[in-house]
């Protein structure tokens, strides 16, 4: 099945929020803090400027609580007495003319008494830098299994490593944007680019002091999210709504690229330390891991990112003794946030670099090292979760090795590297896994609801708050319902994600949409059949006829099948001890990169890339393949070129001219293969897939670079991105 909204996107007729013409609409914009931390003394509005044309909003105009509703609600909508990072919004302006708005922002200046800022999350803060609890630690989480201390005492080898990853920008091609207006009854409507409409509802209720019946949120077609439009759209929604409230006119805020890069979230920078006890054969005896992530100025989503990160930090391996300590630290930067992978890419980079490090130290082949440790059915992960899904992870790795021509290339490269004056080739692999859906009891707390309505013309309408952000949700939900009820795709309507019409089926995050919400589509279809008095496996025209007949009998009424999430049996998780089944299921993969480093320029080219994964049933091959390829290329960017440069906690290369993402000519074709092992509790047997491809590329590439440069390295490529500058600093000069 082709992408449902594909032609609208290809012809440019799809209407994103910036494409929507709203009569009488003003443009909104924010004036932001120029310093990383300080006490606001005064805000100056230039004297010789006509402010009467502008709507001006500050924290005193907030009718509700000056907080962005999230985990800890510590981020203000607008800074009141203090600022915590550069670009923190303090004042909002609206005007019919966008240029006038831009101009006016520069007529506002701030009188701020600076305070000592915490600018390096890796350093223990000084007393003056403490701004949260007693130590600037937002969250401290740990996983323990077995007896780590004892295991280290008896170990023949102990191998250590430190690994660092940098921030990464989402660079969704459509910048953040939001519009807000009040109707005559005082009902607020907010429409825009977002992943999670009900997060926005909650934020508006909290900051605008409105009850749910007075808030309506509509998702516009969204030009990419990748996590960047998980929580941050709540901020824009509050800004636009506050301006609209004061102006009594619609207000639209569309960030331009510079503002978007400077003022919105990024992937958490992270540092991981591994200390590992191994036997002579390279079998893991004990793992002691520390993971520190940079949370930025406010808590936002950092604790949950850290949680997923540490749960995955020990890798897809069997090890009896594991201790993982994780910390999310405050720093005076724009908060770091959700980004595809959600803590796992950082953890996987460290683990898979470390596996190569152990192998190299012991003189064991990197593949053998993994073969000896990959988790087999019946063994347990670090949380004690016993894996018994029937997936052969060693066979999966072997398939990847075969498809990539591993053995042949290794031989060819040895000969090539001996003779070529300045090119070096190498290969690297990474074995990765990613838990599908929310961590632990997350789905239980969400208790998502979804509806499937039978319409009077016999079609059905799926009503969910899950959003199409490019990943193909419209097409996949259509396929799931058409498969369940034996209907043609045209007989299935997907309701706009408008909270006045759709129930809260949960956020579009955590690779949960297909697996979890898709399952709710199936179950709501079953409920619909039940209400029609049809047997549970009835399909096709009988269903259509029953729906139309029902409407003839019940004119003007709604026929709605409902479903609510229920945890599958046999999943046990303890939030307090971090023990048990952290996820209902996992996707598994082996990724292999082949690279070439040019010693003259220190540039790295990915020659080919193979991604082999087991993600349950593949519901739509084109969409699934596209997700993997897109994720891999984001991973290549993060590994080799994407570098956020910070000064005083603010991104200073906030333009696509100097924040570089891969172009078509920077990457090879990405080869993708699937093994299918249906997951009984996922829609049609599907597991999550969207994040897995972000986890594997960086370690595979860094391992390949280490392989290519093995004769030349004075330091290991354990920090990414591996820009030419970094490669140069790791190698002895070619002509030395």
């Amino acid at each position: 099945m082709r992408r449902r909204e594909g032609l609208a996107k290809l012809t440019g007729s799809e209407k994103y929020i910036d494409d929507l013409s709203i009569p009488g609409c003003l443009w909104g914009m924010a004036a932001r803090s120029p310093v990383p931390r300080g006490i606001i003394r005064q805000i100056h509005f230039a004297k010789d400027f006509n402010w009467s044309e502008f709507v001006v909003v500050d924290h005193r105009d907030i009718p509700g609580t000056n907080e962005i509703f999230m985990i800890q609600n510590d981020q203000p909508v607008l800074a009141a007495d203090r600022v915590m990072h550069i670009h923190e919004p303090v004042v909002l302006l609206a005007h019919p003319d966008r240029q006038a708005c831009r101009h006016a922002i520069n007529q506002i200046s701030f009188d701020i008494d600076p305070l000592p800022a915490a600018l390096d999350y890796r350093k223990v803060p000084t007393t003056e830098q403490i701004q949260y609890a007693s130590d600037n630690v937002f969250a401290h989480l740990s996983v323990t299994k077995g007896d780590v201390e004892q295991a280290f005492k008896d170990a023949p080898h102990v191998i250590q490593g430190i690994y660092e990853t940098g921030a990464q920008e989402h660079v969704y091609l459509e910048n953040q944007g939001m519009a807000a207006w009040f109707d005559d009854q005082g009902v607020l409507t907010v429409q825009g680019s977002m992943q999670c409409p009900y997060y926005v509802v909650n934020a508006l209720k909290h900051a605008l002091k409105l009850d749910e019946s007075r808030v309506r949120v509509i998702q516009s077609p969204t030009g990419g999210g990748f996590g960047g439009k998980e929580d941050y759209p709540s901020n824009l929604a509050c800004y636009a709504a506050l301006l609209a409230l004061k102006a009594q006119q619609p207000v639209k805020i569309i960030y331009d690229r510079e503002e978007d890069l400077a003022a919105t979230t990024k992937r958490h920078p992270a540092r991981l330390k591994h200390r590992t006890a191994v036997d002579d054969q390279g079998r893991l005896i004990a793992q002691d891991i520390e993971m520190i992530i940079d949370g930025g100025a406010y808590v936002t989503l950092s604790p949950v990112v850290l949680s997923r990160g540490i749960i995955h930090a020990a890798g897809p391996y069997a090890c009896d003794h594991v201790r993982i300590e994780g910390k999310a630290m405050l720093s005076n930067s724009v908060p770091f946030g959700a980004f595809r992978g959600f803590g796992v890419p950082q953890a996987a980079f460290a683990m898979e670099r470390h596996m190569d490090h152990i192998a190299r130290t012991l003189g064991i082949d990197a593949v053998e090292m993994r073969r000896r440790n990959l988790i087999r059915d019946g063994q347990s992960l670090s949380t004690g979760q016993v894996i018994n899904d029937g997936t052969d992870r060693v066979a999966l790795m072997d398939l990847a090795l075969k498809e990539s021509g591993w053995a042949g290339h290794i031989k060819d490269h040895a000969a090539f590297n001996q003779t070529h004056p300045y090119l070096r080739k190498g290969m690297g692999l990474a074995c990765i896994y990613h838990g599908s859906g929310f961590t632990g009891s997350g789905e239980v707390h969400l208790a998502s609801k979804l509806h499937v309505a039978g319409l009077s013309d016999g079609r059905i309408e799926i009503r969910s708050a899950n959003t199409e952000i490019g990943q193909g949700m419209l097409t996949v939900f259509t396929r799931i319902a058409s498969h369940r009820l034996g209907l043609e795709p045209e007989q299935i309507v997907i309701a706009e994600a408008d909270t006045s019409r759709v129930p809260n089926s949960g956020p579009t995050v955590a690779s949960r949409t297909t697996m979890v919400a898709g399952k709710l589509v199936e179950n709501a279809c079953s409920d619909l059949l039940d209400q029609l008095g049809l047997p549970v496996h009835e399909t096709g025209q009988v269903v259509v006829d029953a729906i139309t007949a029902w409407h003839l009998d019940n004119p003007g009424q709604e026929l709605v099948g409902t479903a609510q999430y229920r945890q599958p049996p046999g999943i046990n998780w303890d939030d307090k001890t971090y023990k048990g089944d952290a996820y209902g299921t996992y996707g598994w993969a082996t990724y292999i990169a082949r690279v070439q480093v040019d010693l003259r320029t220190c540039t790295t080219t990915v020659l080919d890339f193979h991604a082999v994964q087991e993600i349950g049933t593949v519901i739509n091959n084109t969409l699934a393949t596209g997700q993997i390829q897109g994720g891999v290329v984001q991973g290549i960017g993060w590994a080799l070129m994407e570098e956020c440069c910070f000064r005083e906690g603010a991104m200073i290369n906030n333009q696509l001219t100097n924040y570089i993402i891969p172009t078509a000519s920077d990457v090879p074709g990405i080869s993708v293969s699937f093994l299918e092992n249906p997951y009984e509790h996922g829609a049609m047997g599907a597991k999550g897939l969207g994040e897995l491809p972000m986890d594997g590329p960086a370690p595979a590439i860094a391992n390949a670079v280490a392989d290519a440069l093995s004769q030349l390295l004075i330091d290991q490529p354990d920090t990414i991105p591996l820009t030419p500058e970094r490669i140069m600093s790791l190698t002895t000069p070619i002509h030395a």
Binding site: I22, L173, G630, V633, L656
Partner: protein, 166 residues
């Protein structure tokens, strides 16, 4: 809603999507804004506003151009084509091959592909990946784009079947 209140408009005539057009614009107005906010042709997107992403690609006198870097007042007598001029029947291969995901880069990609299709000789000098490297896409990893364009080119010109060498 405007982006710009103008005090000194200039009136120019050009051909837009094969139709003559006379329009009064601020001398500082970008073609991108004229298209989107004055003419309601919102298919052309803004991704970066500095010529890096190609989301705003249009054809001016048959050459691809970034509409965010062109002032409308420079276009007197020129021929401009936007995504709105594209015949939907030419898009089925791209639809099938996963050329679009979120769609924000897509109109720019389609316009560049249209230009390549009309000037297939350029493929003698540069690979399709090189020719498409002015259009950033954050979703597809480019395989779906390259494949969709290859199939489209092969349909228009089967004699010189194109295949991504990588």
């Amino acid at each position: 809603m405007s982006t710009n209140t103008c005090t000194n408009p200039i009136t120019i005539s050009l051909t837009l999507n094969s139709k003559p057009l006379s329009i009064a614009v601020d001398p500082a107005e970008r073609l991108l804004d004229t298209l989107r906010y004055q003419l309601g042709l919102t298919g052309t997107k803004e991704g970066c506003a500095e010529g890096e992403c190609g989301a705003c690609t249009v054809l001016i006198d048959d050459q691809p151009a970034n509409a965010c870097l062109v002032l409308t007042c420079q276009l007197a007598g020129r021929f401009v084509r936007t995504i709105e001029s594209i015949n939907v029947d030419t898009l089925h291969h791209m639809h099938e091959q996963g050329t679009t995901q979120c769609g924000a880069c897509t109109p720019g990609v389609v316009m560049c592909a249209q230009w390549i299709n009309e000037h297939q000789d350029v493929l003698k000098h540069q690979s399709l990946r090189q020719l498409m490297s002015g259009n950033l896409c954050r979703c597809t990893g480019y395989d779906g784009i390259i494949l969709g364009i290859e199939k489209t080119l092969n349909e228009t010109n089967p004699a010189t079947a194109h295949k991504d060498p990588r």
